[in-house]
């Protein structure tokens, strides 16, 4: 009925009366309740969604519906929705209800999207497996013994397992692209500043981006068109004009119009052979189609992970200071003075990975270490950004694997944070350089596990990324 159709097709059916919106919503609600074992949703807005469906159906009937009428979307539980539980996958916010809507939520609602619920994620978006959630791990729908990726694991699975059409996720170093790759769907991370962060719970402010999971370019374009653009509540939001992504992505890219590049540094040690061959095959495919594909260099790639973890942990240590038990959220009962209240609230309220990053971040900002770590990290961030600026003088898009491996087993990397951090090796550079990138399904390994191909673009060229992504489908 609605499976595997894009929003455009669904809207046609809604407009012609062949489909009722309430039936579409019920379809997804059924999928949610029949797949509870995947542990995807933290909150399901069943009544709200059905009521909204009735209201929007009336608008559809009278021809006054918004751009996103017919769209059913899930939202990562780090983005605020007024009067809804807002946990960030953490015990410390497990009882917290948000008092305002994020800008993206306001914009979605005003264009008649239906928000079906809030989905699980790694605690405060820190993790690559969705195992760091206070609400338990999310399972990969392709193989339930494996992780879906993280931190936006719930978002990826909600789309992959057909519990909604699209999902809003967020990423700081690959938290959209990596789970998209692990779950066999598309995930877009827009240019830093393209989408307002107001209402996105901060992990590392200068890296965080809201992004979109979907099964096709049209749905992602439709949502991107609505949620992008300057926001008076976010000083770092970009003034850049927002194109009509749904129109732009209708055009196809032809050989001769653009040049592709691939960075040799992204095909070295640590990359799974099957993925490597899969991506190289895609490169051949492009060449065969007549596209120019050049080898390029991103010489500072080997510093990406260190730089990323120093800077994001530094920002995180400060961003997470507000969870102190004073004004809202979990507060430990176990205290007899102020210091104990702080220590016990935060010790009991945060999980191990969050604590690890707070400690790391506190350390790199400490007096005596600031210059050696944070400052040096900032310098390296500039170098990595320059790598991309130089590369984009030669090529229009850079292709690479999204992840070094396919989805790994639950628990496999829990005792080895460094191995876990290497998941971000091909994705984190994009957040350091504040550019956009997309992960598109590129095939399956011999176990049948999906992997993605990553396309990185110039700042604000999301339209180009969506167009290019169609070449691989």
């Amino acid at each position: 009925m609605i499976q595997n159709r894009n929003l455009n097709e669904i809207q046609k059916e809604l407009n012609s009366g062949k489909l009722l919106l309430v039936d579409a919503v019920k379809y997804y609600l059924d999928k949610i309740s029949s797949q509870k074992h995947l542990n995807v949703f933290i909150s399901v807005f069943e009544n709200d969604a059905l009521t909204r469906a009735e209201e929007i159906q009336k608008k559809i009937n009278s021809g006054t519906a918004g751009k996103l009428a017919g769209l059913v979307i899930s939202v990562k539980d780090v983005i605020t929705i007024k009067d809804k539980l807002h946990t960030c996958g953490s015990k410390i916010l497990s009882n917290y209800t948000s008092v305002y809507n994020a800008t993206v939520i306001e914009r979605l609602i005003s264009e008649d999207a239906i928000i079906i619920g809030k989905v699980n994620c790694d605690e405060f978006a820190m993790g690559s497996s969705n195992e760091n959630s206070y609400f338990g791990a999310v399972l990969n729908p392709v193989d339930n013994s494996r992780v879906p990726g993280g931190s936006s694991g719930g978002s990826a699975v909600s789309v992959a397992a057909d519990m909604c059409m699209v999902s809003l996720g967020s990423e700081t170093g690959g938290s959209i692209r990596q789970p998209a790759s692990f779950c066999g769907i598309t995930g877009l991370k827009a240019t830093y500043g393209r989408i307002s962060r107001f209402g996105l719970t901060a992990f590392a402010s200068s890296f965080d981006s809201i992004g979109i999971f979907g099964k096709n370019d049209y749905d992602i374009a439709a949502v991107l068109e609505v949620i992008s653009g300057e926001d008076e509540y976010d000083s770092t939001s970009a003034k850049e004009k927002v194109p009509e992504f749904t129109v732009e992505t209708g055009n196809n890219i032809k050989p001769g119009e653009i040049i592709f590049g691939y960075a040799k540094e992204y095909f070295e040690d640590g990359l799974n052979e099957e993925i490597k061959n899969g991506i190289l095959k895609k490169i051949e495919f492009l060449k065969n189609k007549g596209f120019e594909v050049k080898e390029i260099s991103l010489p500072h790639s080997k510093y990406v992970i260190q730089t990323y973890y120093i800077l994001t942990s530094a920002e995180a240590s400060s961003n997470l200071a507000r969870y102190d038990g004073v004004r809202f959220g979990f507060k430990s009962e176990n205290h007899s003075n102020l210091e104990e209240m702080y220590v016990n609230t935060r010790s009991e309220g945060f999980g191990a990975e969050v604590k690890r990053r707070i400690m790391l971040g506190t350390y790199v900002l400490s007096s005596g270490y600031y210059d050696a770590y944070y400052k040096k990290g900032q310098k390296m961030r500039r170098k990595i950004t320059e790598d991309f600026e130089n590369a984009f003088k030669e090529v229009d898009y850079i292709i690479s694997p999204t992840t070094p491996t396919t989805a790994f087993k639950l628990g496999e990397k829990n005792d080895d944070p460094l191995a876990m951090y290497l998941n971000d090796i091909y994705t984190a550079s994009v957040n350091l350089a504040a550019i956009p990138a997309i992960s598109v399904p590129a095939g399956n390994d011999s176990n049948g596990l999906p992997f993605g191909i990553q396309i990185m673009g110039k700042k604000f060229d999301e339209a180009g990324l969506l167009k290019v992504s169609k070449l691989f489908i």
């Binding site: 948000s98 994020a102 209402g199 920002e315 400060s318 200071a321 507000r322 004073v326 102020l338 600031y370």
Partner: protein, 487 residues
């Protein structure tokens, strides 16, 4: 202290925090109103809820630029904000947004004038923007503290002086000058007692003639001029004793106890904060271009130094009067309102206006403990009173009585003068009549005055004035008495 001062001198620098009178907070749109009910001027942004972002209040930038220009500072074209990280319950986000490495204003100075007329130039290292924290209330109960977040996010500017201050008088004079400018610029209400102006003082001491600075200590949260002066003196003495006993002064944050008149360490070295400053990633550069600076310059009101010059030129007042009037912006405005309503404008009436304000108005304000803005008498009422003096219809002493009557009854000068029949007698014949009467009644004093005992003139004039019920024109009385005595 005096003896010590022959051997040692203090080196002082002040950090002055001034709350800005912007309509809304620094990074959200909550009101900054002072007396609102607790936790009513709050929103998710200033309460530090998940997902919120700060947005800089442009009015704050305009305000700090005014202060920067008024204190001869250079202005940074591009400055950034930083986070100062520390945990305290009234600091909602766990960090304060402030400026650290690149303050928007830097490298300025103020000239101050001391009681003995010597002038000193005090360097201003920097002026930067930051946000205030909330208010913790600890005396509500023994085992609980309450927090009012109304103040959390209210904009502050911090004015940091160079260690150029060498005496306590210089410190308070400089502080007063800063306060005066803030009030003139209408960006702060100058109220130290209510906490809208706060001062931290850095002080070290060194042997006279020594070039090198000693190790400083920082005395936090001084909330009156008196406390600044007393705390500096106490800390100077403490450091002197430490050094004289052969010990060393260590950098410490001190607190001042006004009842004990003693400074003591606020926290031990182990507890010293590491604020882990780093650039605030949620805010963009603060950019100030030429146009902006130019428009701020044009908006600057007349500042005290210019006003003093103008008062000298326009009102021909003595420096003493000018200094007192201009010291207080409201008072100088009041003076100008009085003079603008005068029927006759000349040096004499300008001076009479100043006399009435400096002696009578200031006295009732002081006696009644009220502000100028709460004074029921309006400038135009005082102008009318001065009209009577300038037309020689009443004399200065009567004017004072009439002023008091005006203040207590709220009546006009003309009503009072008419009711009490106070118009001064300038008619020679009437005055001569009274003088003759007094000479007859005081024959011996009159004779002694005539024979050269000049001090007796006062006695005679007093009696004449009394006989006339104070209405005789004193100048005429003086002239005519001498004439009649001669005869």
């Amino acid at each position: 202290m005096k003896e010590i001062l022959q051997k040692y001198e203090p080196v002082i620098g002040l950090e002055i925090h001034a709350q800005m009178k912007t309509k809304t907070k620094a990074f959200c749109r909550c009101s900054t109103e002072f007396n609102a009910p607790s936790n009513s001027n709050v929103c998710p942004v200033c309460l530090g809820h998940p997902g919120v972002l700060p947005v800089l209040n442009e009015e704050l930038v305009n305000f700090i630029l005014k202060m920067g220009l008024a204190t001869n500072c250079k202005i940074k074209e591009r400055s950034i904000f930083a986070r100062k990280n520390y945990f305290y319950p009234d600091l909602s986000k766990g960090y304060q947004i402030t400026q650290f490495e690149t303050p928007i204003c830097y490298g300025g100075y103020l000239d101050i004038e001391l009681k003995d007329d010597t002038k000193r130039k005090i360097g201003i290292t920097r002026i930067h923007m930051e946000e205030d924290a909330g208010k913790s209330i600890h005396d509500f109960s023994d085992d609980e503290s309450l927090i009012d977040f109304n103040r959390c996010g209210v904009p502050l500017i911090e004015i940091v002086s160079e260690p150029d201050i060498r005496t306590i008088e210089e410190a308070t004079t400089y502080l007063n000058k800063v306060k005066q400018l803030l009030v003139y610029l209408e960006i702060n209400d100058g109220n130290m007692e209510e906490g809208s102006l706060r001062c931290d003082a850095n002080i070290s001491i060194r042997k006279k003639g020594e070039e090198k600075f000693g190790t400083r200590t920082e005395i936090k949260n001084l909330n009156s001029f008196r406390n600044v002066a007393d705390a500096l003196e106490a800390e100077f003495n403490r450091q002197y004793e430490v050094i004289e006993s052969g010990d060393k002064v260590y950098y410490t944050t001190m607190t001042y106890d006004a009842t004990l008149k003693k400074t003591s360490p606020l926290r031990s070295k182990e507890e010293a904060h590491d604020y882990r400053y780093f650039p605030e990633p949620d805010l963009v550069y603060v950019e100030v271009n030429e146009n902006k600076l130019e428009s701020i310059k044009n908006e600057l009101p007349e500042l005290p130094e210019e006003k003093k010059l103008r008062f000298k030129k326009d009102y021909l007042l003595p420096d003493y009067d000018i200094n007192i009037l201009v010291q207080d912006k409201e008072l100088s405005n009041f003076y100008e309102q009085v003079t603008s309503n005068l029927a006759t404008k000349n040096e004499k009436t300008f001076k009479t206006s100043s006399n009435i304000i400096l002696s009578e108005v200031l006295r009732v304000l002081n006696d009644e403990k009220i502000d100028l803005k709460n004074l029921k008498l309006k400038p135009v009422n005082i102008s009318e009173l001065i009209g009577f003096v300038s037309r020689n219809e009443i004399n200065n002493n009567t004017a004072k009585d009439v002023f008091n009557e005006m203040f207590t009854t709220g009546k006009n000068a003309s009503e009072i003068i008419k009711e009490k029949n106070l118009i001064q007698v300038s008619d020679d014949n009437l005055i001569i009549e009274i003088i003759n009467k007094i000479i007859l009644e005081n024959k011996s004093e009159a004779d002694r005055y005539k024979s050269g005992e000049s001090k007796l003139k006062g006695v005679l004039v007093g009696k004449i004035m009394k006989e006339s019920k104070g209405k005789a024109n004193p100048q005429k009385v003086n002239e005519l008495l001498d004439k009649l005595i001669e005869n």
